[in-house]
Symmetry: C2
Subunit: 214 residues, 2 copies
């Protein structure tokens, strides 16, 4: 499986493919053509074939794609065939929401720890994980192998935390703080900037209303 220089645009589409393939699996559908998937997903069949072919041929001429096989292959590409441990830093509603979301576990994302600086929250349980004080974070990271840190704290705290995380073995940050994090090469950051998303929605509302008036 050759995988060099795959664009993030392609990667960004893979989870959606996986979701539709999962639905097909549940409906016990065994095979699917790019054409069928195309009309299901509202993307061109050509793009589907092109996307899959970035990773080698998963289909068969005259037949299409085997749903189970394709599902597994895309899972592997996305690294979902082995598990990732994570801690959540910031035990507000957002942190708790993510900690409670069981689907992550099903995908191999294992919830290992949760930290907050608010003394009132310490000791509370989120699923089977106890909220610990921030002071214990560093030791915890050293004594456990944690892949991903989920940052659900305000931006002021987030920036100062990066070094601690990276120095103690964190390989990836899922960043919900509204700030761009500066990390060393090799550390992955995925931003979820909710207010950016809301602003895009706002733009599209306004644009549509304007275009109606003209």
């Amino acid at each position: 499986m050759q995988e060099k220089g795959i664009s993030q645009a392609v990667i960004g589409r893979l989870p959606r493919y996986l979701r539709y393939l999962g639905d097909l699996k549940e409906r016990n559908i065994e095979r699917i053509s790019s054409q069928e998937l195309s009309s299901l997903m509202n993307v061109t069949a050509s793009q589907i074939r092109q996307d899959f072919n970035n990773f080698g041929g998963f289909g068969q001429q005259g037949y299409g794609y085997n749903v189970d096989y394709l599902y597994d292959e895309i899972s592997k590409i996305l690294g979902l065939d082995h598990s990732h441990s994570f801690v959540i830093i910031g035990a507000g509603n957002l942190g708790k929401a993510l900690g409670n979301y069981l689907n992550f576990e099903r995908r191999g994302f294992i919830f290992k720890g949760m930290f907050d600086k608010n003394p009132e929250l310490i000791g509370q349980m989120v699923r089977d994980v106890e909220i610990r004080p921030m002071e214990e974070l560093e030791v915890f990271l050293r004594e456990n192998t944690i892949d991903i840190a989920v940052l659900t704290i305000p931006k002021t705290g987030a920036v100062g935390l990066v070094d601690t995380l990276v120095d103690n073995g964190i390989k990836a940050i899922w960043n919900f703080a509204h700030v761009d994090l500066d990390v060393p090469k090799g550390v992955q950051v995925e931003n979820v900037h909710l207010s950016d998303s809301l602003m895009k929605l706002s733009y599209n509302i306004s644009r549509y209303n304007d275009s109606k008036e003209n």
Copy 2:
């Protein structure tokens, strides 16, 4: 201000510009050149100028851009110069997190109502909004002018709710349910698929580790 056929790629960058301009405002910086902003934000100066010029010229040769003016103009483009009311449907941790996030209010997004089907949650307050039973949603939407529905419920519920929302005046859906919603033309949907985002992170972790081994 001419605004036709602006790509979503450009729109997607505007909130980030706005964030950096806000920081500059706070630091009382009055003017900035595309070159300076470029090195601050790690994008090319050319892209910055190109992006801004989609909406007309905001800068001045030999001077650069006036920070306050540019900030205001981008705010207007994003529709942040007038307010949007929203309701949250689904009062789990995620819904509560969004309801409690005060920054939305500052941008003119006004939290008007919250709904859940779980009887135990009814009557609880999230900020100054009371959680109501789902049965009251339709009447509420008819009696109040609500622009945006925020869907923080599981996908099974989300799909069936779209018609109710649209029929009662909702113009936009901020969708956190892990499903693609089918809406009539003119209704805007902005998806936040958190697990997709996490999978992208997973891909990038795996890819980096693989490239180290080769």
